[in-house]
Symmetry: C2
Subunit: 688 residues, 2 copies
């Protein structure tokens, strides 16, 4: 077989990687082949693969359907030992086994493997098939030993998704929903502690785990157990991805049993934020690229650089998320979009989604941006929405979250068997479990001790044990670990991470109720009860002083400026802003703000039901200003008022909350203040 | 530069296309290049393209957001000349212009075009980059003259989606929503006529247009205007895709002005069904593959075969759609899933989606299956859902429909400028417009004449003119035409179709109100009024006798067997089924069925509000059976009862309907029977 090739220099401009070769080989097949025939074949192939894809996706849909039906049975029977996510994993495992061992796919003949050996991997590839040009796109690198499998395990490889799917499609709704349903009041009450756990804690556990794993890896190297490179940065990376907790199971049970709200707030707040921290942390560890020939030595400069990356990416994503949230709030405030709830919902959805895309386009982390966008939307935009849109948005994201979460977990189960390049190493696995445990401990206990120095209502030891125990790993950890499985180290991490997730979700998740009882943590706490204890006010003072400085600064700013600016509620800006910018204040304050102020005196109740819903409503503000007057003299009184009104205000935020885990609550929440049938009715619907 | 290559026959098994070559060239770049460096470069490239994708998607999100805000303004100002879809197209056009002429993208250097000239286009391609194997997947064929553009117009090519996206992601929710919100009562009243228009009419217009276009094409060939092949099958294909009407604009206005309900039903029903017909028709035309060397001669055998394909695919998709719908109904009926509306909604969503995937996997048409699934879900499952889920599902699919529809239309506008291979041919375009017009005429007028022979309430001439005028082309036509733009003929079709859509949506859509007034079609008709006219009953009898045979068969079967079997409503199966299978009947009939029967006597009203919602509720049935008794003697009375109860029953189906266009209705529908505040409140929300 003769081969000729010429270099057609039609696009060989400068640019280090720009090369353009035209190789023409005439092999195997006769030149005389009918091109029409070829077309048909190509079409058939495309159709075939489309069918295959549909079938694969169908598998997952069926899995989810099965999961839903089983969950229903469990709830029906009040069976609490297995959460839906755990169930989804089990079903995933079963299907994985079937796919791996049950079905034998004959070697796929239509799949030609042509391999041109050149020195660059273009993003686009043109293949000239006897005159016709076909375009190919880079799918990714595959390991050398995989090549033979490419055809054998065509089917297995089909059911394994592109890892980016998790970050670009499945994770965003989950994270957004988490932010959109942060249990605000108790979250802000414990803001200081939550931030400490989420930021300090995650970093601590990341480095602890990293160091321990490095020890473990060096040990393995000694006894020749290591089959490839495993650098310190890899260990740190592992530490970062394993530090993202996701106690959805535990929270669901907490919610169901109405466990102490502060404990709930601490766990939920931490888990929401440390996801964000872990993502940015891992990406900045990857960004650690020392110069020089040996790229894995320690280098201060690179260290500083990746710390800069961390700060930059995090703050950038945070800012973007806030920005889009604020924009949505302004649009919904200043247009009468609320007359058309469909348009409103659509806008809300699109704006929230654009946050993600914007962040990704700017090179920030979309998931983090979406989280803060969700919080902003809940805190400001939500108040401007019409009641229908409030329901719609809540229900929509609840549904998306539910589907995405269960999809990820069932995929986790499936991938344990369908993933081609698992590297299970007993020593590494044992080390990982140990390190995860110690890392969690090093996060919770020391920080709790330090925090208790500052807190009035201490984080009791049994709470600490519970938090320790509730360090489940979930969707985020999985998504981070599957994102890159190119190297040996990454594969070993991935395999190990899977086991960690399985163990924590099944064992820790399943044992929650037992743990609660053996730690004697009181259940059946009415969130509002503790505030109606009476004027003895120990609780009060304690909450008031917890993380006072941080909280008060934020609260005053939010209450006096952000709320009135972004929503129809709060004191008129005319009252809170300095006299100089009275004109601006007047045009920014919505007429309702004045009316509301009047209303506040005679009736709070309906406000609570209307938009006290998720927001911190503005309780009974002692400041009194007439619409026109912009006398700043009243501001101190606003500030002063806080200390007392605070809890009452925050208390209003409690009604009709959809919280991350609530879909698991059985309709047995009779311990709540009586609401008009309709709302209560719809609420219990949203909760169940 | 030296080139060596060896043929490693490691996988050259049998199988006509299975070849495996290993070519190794060492060009341009030095062998000594650092592989780590390479990795980084590859990563960077991937990241870059991801950013690009995000940015592109962001463009569309922004477009939609802009559209929403403008629509709001229009509605706010009661401005009816431009529908949101038309608006979306305009914005799309603008952005398209900017992308095409405004932004000049520098030649992308990172994009290597390596073209291996071999005799087959594999689905998967392995490229061996100095030891590393990268996997490539077939994206599709691109025309020879495009190749130089590949790099120039990287950006333009990026914003053009894979056409399959429309069929697999955007179209299904639209079609499902159409089916889920078919205005049942008037639809079934005019079922005969609708089916005639949808099936006969579409086929007629397809062939008329096909023939006319063939004439046009031959003319062009004569005067040497034709730049490539254009066979008769292509003409027929064009006829098929252009025959799918989508008068969403018109329907929205009808709805707003409350135009005569029968006219509405005729138009909506036709448009929903002829989408399905057009899809299957076009696919069966493509399937027309005569044997022999000349593949474009007429051949009876192939003709029959493709007719078989039509019947097979259509009935198969229909059956699948029905099947999944029925399954969902059964699951929701026999489980207590309604206690957890989130689970219920998720299940509903997943089952409906699985219809599509199942159909695609089986080689049927997913879109058609989804349509009939939607109808079934609305007709049966909807009654079993809890009120929350009823709202949720309605709102969810309303939102999806809204987003998908506007996305498609804005993409249409965009693609007019960003699509690379437009073929605008004045003669063809003029011919197409003419043919489209005549085809529509040949559909409406003759059929109306024939139908009027059988109808009591004739389709008046002004109705016919209105239907003629309302033959807008929309999403389906576009999706079908963009699906395959490989050949010259297909490209010309695509470009022409775009113009047809633009014209019809803007001109016909915009002129609807004028047309209505000049045709003197009465507006502001209360759907229920005509039935409360009194016992003179001309209307009654007419509706009763319209397509009597078809309707009555269907209705009796549905009312006596399907409803009781699939829902909690209807007469107990024990009453309707023959005595022999009494046991089966007893276990299939839900306890409610008996209770309902009791209730019927004392109060209808609340039933109307509970699940009379979309379903045909079971009016006041004259038959009376005790739970145990399975005496079939009562069946005749059931049948007999229909003739009178029919309209009243159908009338119940009217309340709180979400219909395809309703999102456009301004909250000004006071002409409806008073409902409890909550429902009315939420309804107007759903409508606006």
């Amino acid at each position: 077989m003769g081969s000729r090739w010429k270099n057609s220099g039609n696009c060989c401009a400068s640019g280090m990687l720009s090369l353009c070769v035209l190789v023409s080989l005439s092999i195997c097949l006769s030149r005389a082949e009918d091109s029409a025939m070829e077309n048909i074949v190509t079409e058939k192939k495309a159709e075939e693969s489309h069918r295959q894809d549909s079938a694969d996706l169908l598998i997952f849909i069926m899995l989810l359907t099965l999961t839903i039906l089983t969950i229903w049975l469990f709830k029906h029977r009040r069976f609490r030992f297995l959460h839906e996510t755990g169930l989804a994993m089990i079903y995933g495992l079963l299907v994985g086994v079937v796919l791996r061992y049950g079905i034998h796919v004959p070697r796929d003949m239509n799949n030609i493997t042509l391999s041109c050996h050149v020195n660059a991997s273009p993003a686009t590839l043109l293949v000239n098939v006897s005159g016709k040009f076909y375009e190919y796109t880079l799918k990714g690198e595959i390991s050398g030993k995989e090549i033979d499998d490419v055809q054998d395990n065509e089917m297995l490889r089909k059911v394994t998704f592109d890892p980016e799917v998790f970050f670009n499609i499945l994770l965003p709704p989950i994270i957004f929903h988490a932010g959109y349903s942060l249990k605000r009041r108790h979250f802000f009450r414990n803001m200081g502690s939550i931030l400490a756990y989420a930021f300090l804690g995650t970093v601590i556990s990341c480095f602890i785990i990293g160091l321990l794993m490095y020890g473990c890896v060096t040990l393995m190297k000694q006894i020749g157990q290591l089959g490839g490179d495993f650098f310190f940065t890899d260990c740190l990376f592992f530490g970062a991805i394993v530090s993202a907790t996701d106690p959805v199971t535990v929270l669901a049970i907490f919610n169901e049993l109405q466990v102490d709200v502060d404990l709930y707030a601490l766990l939920f707040g931490e888990s929401v934020l440390n996801d964000a921290v872990a993502v940015v942390l891992s990406s900045s560890i990857v960004a650690y690229q020392p110069q020089g020939d040996n790229t894995h030595t320690f280098e201060a400069m690179a260290m500083v650089k990746s710390f800069g990356v961390f700060l930059g990416v995090f703050s950038g994503s945070f800012a973007l998320g806030m920005a889009t949230g604020v924009m949505t709030a302004l649009v919904t405030k200043f247009t009468k979009l609320r007359d058309f709830s469909l348009l409103e919902t659509a806008l809300f959805f699109l704006m929230s989604w654009s946050t993600f895309l914007l962040a990704e386009a700017c090179g920030f982390t979309g998931v983090v941006a979406v989280l803060f966008c969700g919080i902003t939307q809940a805190h400001y935009t939500y108040n401007n929405l019409s009641p229908e849109s409030q329901d719609r948005t809540k229900q929509l994201f609840e549904l998306l979250n539910f589907l995405a979460e269960n999809f990820i977990f069932s995929y986790m189960g499936l991938t344990l068997f369908t993933f081609q390049n698992h590297v299970f190493n007993p020593i590494f696995i044992i080390g990982a479990f140990l390190a995860t445990f110690l890392g969690r401990a090093a996060n919770i206990y020391p920080l709790s001790f330090l925090l208790n120095l500052g807190r009035r209502n201490k984080i009791s030891s049994n709470f600490q044990h519970m938090m320790m125990f509730a360090g489940l790993r979930g969707a985020m950890t999985f998504a981070l670990s599957i994102r890159d499985t190119a190297t040996y180290a990454r594969r070993m991490m991935f395999s190990t991470t899977l086991l960690v997730v399985f163990f924590t979700v099944w064992v820790c998740g399943g044992g929650t109720t037992q743990m609660l009882s053996c730690q004697r943590i009181r259940v059946g706490v009415d969130p509002d009860q503790e505030h109606s204890i009476g004027p003895d006010g120990i609780e009060r003072r304690s909450t008031k002083h917890e993380s006072a400085w941080l909280f008060r600064i934020w609260y005053n700013f939010d209450h006096n400026y952000m709320k009135p600016f972004l929503t129809h509620s709060g004191p008129p800006l005319t009252a809170t802003m300095p006299a100089c910018c009275g004109a601006l204040a007047r045009c920014l304050t919505s007429p309702q703000a004045y009316e509301n102020e009047e209303q506040l005196r005679d009736d709070d109740s309906d406000l609570i039901l209307n938009d006290g819903d998720i927001s911190l409503t503005y309780g009974d503000i002692t400041v009194s200003t007439d619409a026109s007057g912009a006398h700043t003299s009243s501001r101190p009184s606003v500030v002063a008022a806080n200390s007392d009104e605070l809890d009452r205000e925050l208390a209003l935020g409690e009604h009709e909350l959809v919280i991350r885990g609530t879909r698991l609550v059985l309709p047995m929440d009779d311990s709540e203040p009586p609401l008009p049938g309709d709302v209560l009715h719809r609420r219990s619907g949203a909760l169940s």
